[in-house]
C-alpha cells in the first residue's frame, strides 16, 4: 500500500501552499507593517526574521517530508519483503546533530541583535514619553502631557482607547495597568508588551505611514477581553498631532455648551476674555 505516502505528500504540499495564498489575499499573511522605514524600523527587523525562519524551517520541512514520503513510497512490505538489519549509523547521527545545531545557533545569534535593539532598556530612544497608557478592564486609559510637557499635572489630556503619535518619530509610552494583566499589542508595528500590575514599563515603536491602526489587548483580562480595542492614530506631522491635542484639550476643558452662534466657550477662552477686559 504505497499509496499511503500520497496522503502525507498531499498534506505537506497543501501546508506549503497555504503560505502561498498570502500572495493573493493579504489576510493570509503578516498584517500590514508600518514600521519598515521609520527611525526604529522594528517591524522591518521582525518581519525579516520571520521570513528568514520561515524559509529555513520551510526547507527543513520540505526536506523531512520528502524523505518521509519517499520512504513510505519506496519501502512498503510489497516492495521490501525483508527489512535491512541495521541499528544506526554513527556518522549519520553526527551529521544530523551538527547541521541542525549549527542552524539553530545561527538563528539564535542572528536575532539577538534585533532583540537588544527592540527591548533592552539601553536601546530606549532618548525622547520624553508621548503618553502614559494605563490598561484597565476593559479599556486603555491614555494620558498625554499637557502644554507643560509633564505627565501627572492638571493640564494633562485624557483619552480613552485613543492613542496618537507622529509619523517617523521614535515614540515612547509608559505602560501601566490598574487591575489585572493586559498586553499592549500593535500588530501593525510588531510590538507587544504585557502591562504588569505594579510596574511601569517603557515601550517604544514608530510608524512610517500616517493612518489609524488597531491597538489589541493580547493577554486574557476577563469577560470583556475582546472588547478592549484601542485605536492608534499616526499623524503626518508634529503639527497635526499638536493641533489634534489642542482641539481635544479644548473639548476636555469645555465649561459651556455651544451657544447659538456656534462659538464654544472654554476655560481658556474665558481667560482670554478676562484678559481682554
Amino acid at each position: 500500500m504505497r499509496y499511503w505516502s500520497l496522503l502525507f505528500l498531499v498534506t505537506a504540499v497543501l501546508v506549503v501552499a497555504a503560505f502561498g495564498v498570502g500572495a493573493f489575499d493579504p489576510s493570509w499573511w503578516l498584517p500590514e507593517n508600518v514600521s519598515l522605514h521609520g527611525p526604529l524600523h522594528i517591524g522591518a527587523e521582525v518581519d525579516h526574521l520571520f521570513i528568514l525562519i520561515l524559509v529555513i524551517t520551510g526547507l527543513v520541512f520540505i526536506g523531512t517530508q520528502a524523505a518521509l514520503v519517499w520512504t513510505l513510497w519506496r519501502y512498503p512490505r510489497e516492495f521490501q519483503p525483508k527489512a535491512t538489519y541495521q541499528h544506526g549509523s554513527q556518522r549519520l547521527e553526527v551529521v544530523w546533530t551538527i547541521i541542525p545545531a549549527a542552524i539553530l545557533v545561527f538563528i539564535a545569534l542572528y536575532q539577538l541583535g534585533a532583540w537588544t535593539d527592540i527591548k533592552f532598556r539601553s536601546a530606549q530612544p532618548k525622547v520624553p514619553p508621548i503618553a502614559e497608557v494605563t490598561a484597565r478592564q476593559f479599556q486603555w486609559l491614555i494620558r498625554y502631557p499637557g502644554p507643560d510637557g509633564r505627565i501627572g499635572t492638571p493640564d494633562d489630556l485624557h483619552t480613552i482607547n485613543d492613542l496618537h503619535f507622529v509619523k517617523n518619530e521614535p515614540t515612547v509610552i509608559h505602560l501601566k495597568t490598574r487591575d489585572v494583566l493586559h498586553s499592549f499589542f500593535l500588530p501593525a508595528m510588531r510590538i507587544k508588551q504585557d502591562a504588569v500590575p505594579g510596574l511601569t514599563i517603557p515601550v517604544w515603536f514608530d510608524a512610517d505611514r500616517a493612518g489609524t491602526y488597531d491597538l489589541v489587548c493580547a493577554e486574557l483580562c476577563g469577560w470583556g477581553h475582546y472588547k478592549m480595542r484601542g485605536v492608534v492614530t499616526v499623524h503626518e506631522t508634529r503639527r497635526d498631532f499638536e493641533e489634534w491635542a489642542s482641539r481635544a484639550l479644548e473639548e476636555q476643558n469645555r465649561s459651556q455648551l455651544a451657544t447659538i452662534g456656534g462659538t464654544v466657550a472654554t476655560a481658556s477662552a474665558a481667560t482670554a476674555d478676562a484678559g481682554g477686559n
Binding site: P26, E93, L112
Partner: protein
C-alpha cells in the same frame, strides 16, 4: 544461562524477590477480608491469584493493568468532554454570538439571551477545554494509562513496586474530577482565567465571574491531580530501577519505558513547584496572603486590599512546572511511536542510544526553558535572551529523534497497520509542531506572535498531532494486549484518514491567522478592524467546519473501541509479532503477568535478524550465534 552475568551485574535479580515480598505483605493485609483463604505466603511463589471480589478486582484494584485501564477509560471519557468544549469554542469563533446547537438550548434558561453565549462563558469554554485535555486526558492517558499498563509488562515485572500507592494514584484523580465538574455548577461557573490562571485575574474573586468560586475548585482539583501524578511518578521510577527482569539492562529497555522513566523524573522534579504555586494561589484567594498581589491593588472597581507580592512570580512558578509538563505530554508519545515504528518497519530502531540521549536531553533542557513563555511578560529582556538560547537548543534533540524515525522507516519493510499510520502521522505532524516552535523561540518574532493563534496552532500540532496521535497509536497497538481482542483494522484506517485530514484542516490555518495577528482567547476577533476581513472569516469558518468533522470522525473510534471490546476477534499472544516482553505473555495478561519471570537476552528491537527465520526475535529468545558479532551491542559501562 548465558546472560546471568549481565543480569547480576545490574543487580536486578535480588530486587525482584524483595518486591515480591512487599507484594506478599500487601496481599496478606488484604487477606483480612477473608477472600484469600487458600493463599499461601512465605514461600517464594511469585504468582498471586487474582482477587475474586468484584470490588477489589475491578474497582479498588492494585493490579497495574486494571489501574491502567481505569485511567484509560476515565481519560477517554474526559476526552469527549474536552472535545465538546473545543467544538463550542470553535463555533463561537466562526459564527460569533450565534446560537450554539444543543449548548444554547441547554443554557438558555440561565442566559435568557436568545441562545447567545455570554462572553465569560466563552472564556470558561477554552479554559476548561485546556485544563481537561492537559490534566485529565493527555497526562493521565500517557503516564497513567499506558505507563501503568506497560511498564511492568515491558520490563518483565509482576506489578508495580508499590501497588497500593498505584491504586491511590488513580483514586486521587477522582476528587480532582469531581471538583472540576462541580466547578461548572457553582455560582459564577467554572474557572475562566485560562489554563495558565495568571493572577490577578485568577486571584480576585470579582475579577471575572469564573474567579468567584470556580477558580478555587480549579486549584484544589489540580492539587489532587498533582498528588496523583506524584504517586505515579515515584512508582514508575522505583519500578523501572528495581524490578526489571533478569537481563533487562537499562539500555535494553524499549523506548516507551525509557520515555516513561524520564517523564516520571520530570514529574517528580517539577510537580513540587506547581504544587507550591497552587497552594500559594489558594492561600491568596482564601486566607488573604499576598504572594501574587502588588501593593494596594484594586480589581473590578473594588478598592484594593493590602499587598506586597509579585504577579510575575506565579508565571515563573507555573511555567517551571508547565514547560516540563509539555514534555511530560510528548515524551511518552515519542517512546510509543518509536516502538510502533520499529515493529511495523520490521527493522531495529535507528540509533537507539541517540534516541535515549535525545529524550534525556529534552528532559534536561526542558527545565531551563520556562522563561520562553514570558518573553513579553515584563521579565528582564536580558534574561529573555538566555532563555532564547536554551529554547533554540531544545529543538535539537527533537530534530535528532525525527531523523532517527525516518531512518528507522528507511529500508524497512513497512506494514501500514492502523497504529503504524498514527505513528507516521505523529512523525509528520510533529515536524510541523517542532518547526513552528522555532518562530517563538526567536524573541523578536515572538513579540509579534506571542498570545496569537500561531501559538494555539503550535501547541495543537504538538499535543494533538503529537501526543494524541501517539495515544491513538498506542490504543490500536496495545488494545489486543489490554482486552484480548483485536480492533477492526478497516475502521481504524478510516478513522486515521479522517482524523489526519480534519486535524490539519482544523489546526494548520491557525498559523496563518496567528501570523496575521489574531489573538488567542478572544471571544470574537471581529471587533478589530485588521481582523474583520473576508479572509479571516473564511479561515475561522473553515477551521470550525473541520473541527466539527474531526469531532464527528472520533465516533468511528468510539464505535470500533466499544464493539471490539465485546465482539472483536480473539487476539493471540503476539498479534503484531513484536519483540518486547508484554507480547511474551497471554492476551490479556493474567493477574501475575508472567507465569515465570522472563529472561531478557537482547535489546528490544531485533527485527529481521539475519539467520532468524521469522522477521522478529522476542527479547526472551537469544540471538542466533551467527549474528552475534553483527549486533551493535550497546557499549558497556
Amino acid at each position: 544461562m548465558s546472560t546471568n552475568s549481565l543480569g547480576s551485574a545490574d543487580g536486578n535479580i535480588e530486587p525482584v524477590s524483595e518486591a515480591t515480598r512487599a507484594e506478599a505483605r500487601a496481599a496478606s493485609e488484604g487477606g483480612g477480608h477473608g477472600d484469600h483463604g487458600g493463599h499461601g505466603h512465605g514461600h517464594d511463589d511469585h504468582v498471586h491469584p487474582a482477587p475474586s471480589n468484584f470490588l477489589t478486582r475491578y474497582i479498588f484494584s492494585t493490579d497495574h493493568k486494571i489501574i491502567g485501564i481505569q485511567f484509560l477509560f476515565s481519560g477517554l471519557l474526559f476526552f469527549i468532554l474536552g472535545g465538546l468544549l473545543a467544538l463550542a469554542v470553535r463555533w463561537q469563533l466562526a459564527w460569533p454570538w450565534s446560537r450554539v446547537p444543543i449548548l444554547s438550548t441547554i443554557m438558555e434558561g440561565e442566559w435568557k439571551t436568545g441562545g447567545q453565549m455570554p462572553p465569560e462563558f466563552y472564556n470558561k469554554l477554552f479554559t476548561m477545554h485546556a485544563t481537561v485535555m492537559i490534566f485529565f486526558v493527555i497526562i493521565p492517558l500517557l503516564t497513567g494509562a499506558f505507563g501503568n499498563f506497560l511498564i511492568p509488562l515491558m520490563i518483565g515485572a509482576r506489578d508495580m513496586a508499590f501497588p497500593k500507592l498505584n491504586m491511590l494514584s488513580y483514586w486521587f484523580m477522582w476528587p480532582a474530577f469531581i471538583l472540576m465538574l462541580q466547578s461548572f455548577v457553582v455560582e459564577g461557573g467554572a474557572a475562566e482565567a485560562g489554563w495558565t490562571s495568571y493572577p490577578l485575574l485568577a486571584l480576585f474573586r470579582w475579577a471575572t465571574p469564573g474567579s468567584l468560586n470556580g477558580q478555587t475548585l480549579w486549584l484544589m482539583s489540580l492539587l489532587f491531580a498533582g498528588v496523583s501524578s506524584m504517586m505515579g511518578s515515584i512508582n514508575y521510577i522505583t519500578t523501572i530501577l528495581m524490578l526489571r527482569a533478569p537481563g533487562m539492562k537499562l539500555f535494553r529497555m524499549p523506548m516507551t519505558v525509557w520515555a516513561l522513566f524520564i517523564t516520571a523524573l520530570l514529574q517528580a522534579f517539577a510537580l513540587p513547584v506547581l504544587t507550591s504555586a497552587l497552594v500559594m494561589q489558594l492561600l491568596d484567594r482564601t486566607v488573604g496572603t499576598n504572594f501574587f498581589t502588588p501593593v494596594a491593588w484594586s480589581v473590578a472597581n473594588q478598592p484594593g486590599p493590602v499587598g506586597g507580592g509579585q504577579t510575575i512570580l506565579w508565571q515563573h512558578l507555573f511555567w517551571f512546572y508547565s514547560h516540563p509538563a509539555v514534555y511530560i505530554m510528548i515524551l511518552p508519545a515519542m517512546g510509543i511511536v518509536s516502538d510502533v515504528i520499529s515493529t511495523f518497519s520490521r527493522k531495529p530502531l535507528f540509533g537507539y542510544k541517540p534516541m535515549v540521549f535525545a529524550i534525556a536531553g529534552i528532559a534536561f533542557l526542558g527545565f531551563i526553558v520556562w522563561g520562553h513563555h514570558m518573553f513579553q511578560s515584563g521579565m528582564n529582556p536580558a534574561l529573555g535572551a538566555t532563555f532564547m538560547l536554551s529554547t533554540m537548543m531544545i529543538a535539537l534533540p527533537s530534530a535528532i529523534k525525527t531523523f532517527n524515525w525516518i531512518g528507522t522507516l528507511w529500508s524497512g519493510s513497512i506494514h501500514f497497520t492502523t497504529p503504524m499510520l498514527f505513528a507516521i502521522g505523529f512523525v509528520s505532524m510533529f515536524v510541523i509542531g517542532g518547526l513552528s516552535g522555532i518562530f517563538m523561540a526567536a524573541t523578536p518574532v515572538d513579540m509579534h506572535i506571542h498570545d496569537t493563534y500561531f501559538i494555539v496552532g503550535h501547541i495543537h500540532y504538538v499535543l494533538f498531532g503529537g501526543s494524541t496521535f501517539g495515544i491513538f497509536a498506542a490504543i490500536y497497538y496495545w488494545f489486543p494486549k489490554m482486552f484480548g481482542r483485536m480492533m477492526d483494522e478497516r475502521l481504524g484506517k478510516i478513522h486515521f484518514v479522517l482524523t489526519f485530514i480534519f486535524f490539519n484542516g482544523t489546526f494548520f490555518l491557525m498559523h496563518i491567522i496567528g501570523m496575521h495577528g489574531h489573538p488567542r482567547r478572544i471571544a470574537t476577533p471581529y471587533e478589530y478592524e485588521f481582523l474583520n476581513r473576508p479572509g479571516i472569516h473564511f479561515m475561522n469558518e473553515f477551521m470550525t467546519v473541520n473541527a466539527l468533522l474531526l469531532g464527528a470522525s472520533q465516533l468511528i473510534v468510539v464505535y470500533n473501541f466499544v464493539v471490539s471490546l465485546f465482539a472483536g476477534p480473539r487476539a493471540s499472544e503476539n498479534p503484531w509479532r513484536a519483540n518486547t516482553l508484554e507480547w511474551a505473555t497471554a492476551s490479556p495478561p493474567p493477574h501475575y503477568n508472567f507465569l515465570k519471570i522472563p529472561t531478557v537476552y537482547h535489546a528490544a528491537y531485533e527485527y529481521s535478524v539475519p539467520g532468524v527465520e521469522e522477521d522478529y526475535l522476542p527479547q526472551t529468545r537469544p540471538l542466533p550465534p551467527a549474528s552475534q558479532q553483527m549486533v551493535l551491542e550497546p557499549a558497556r559501562g
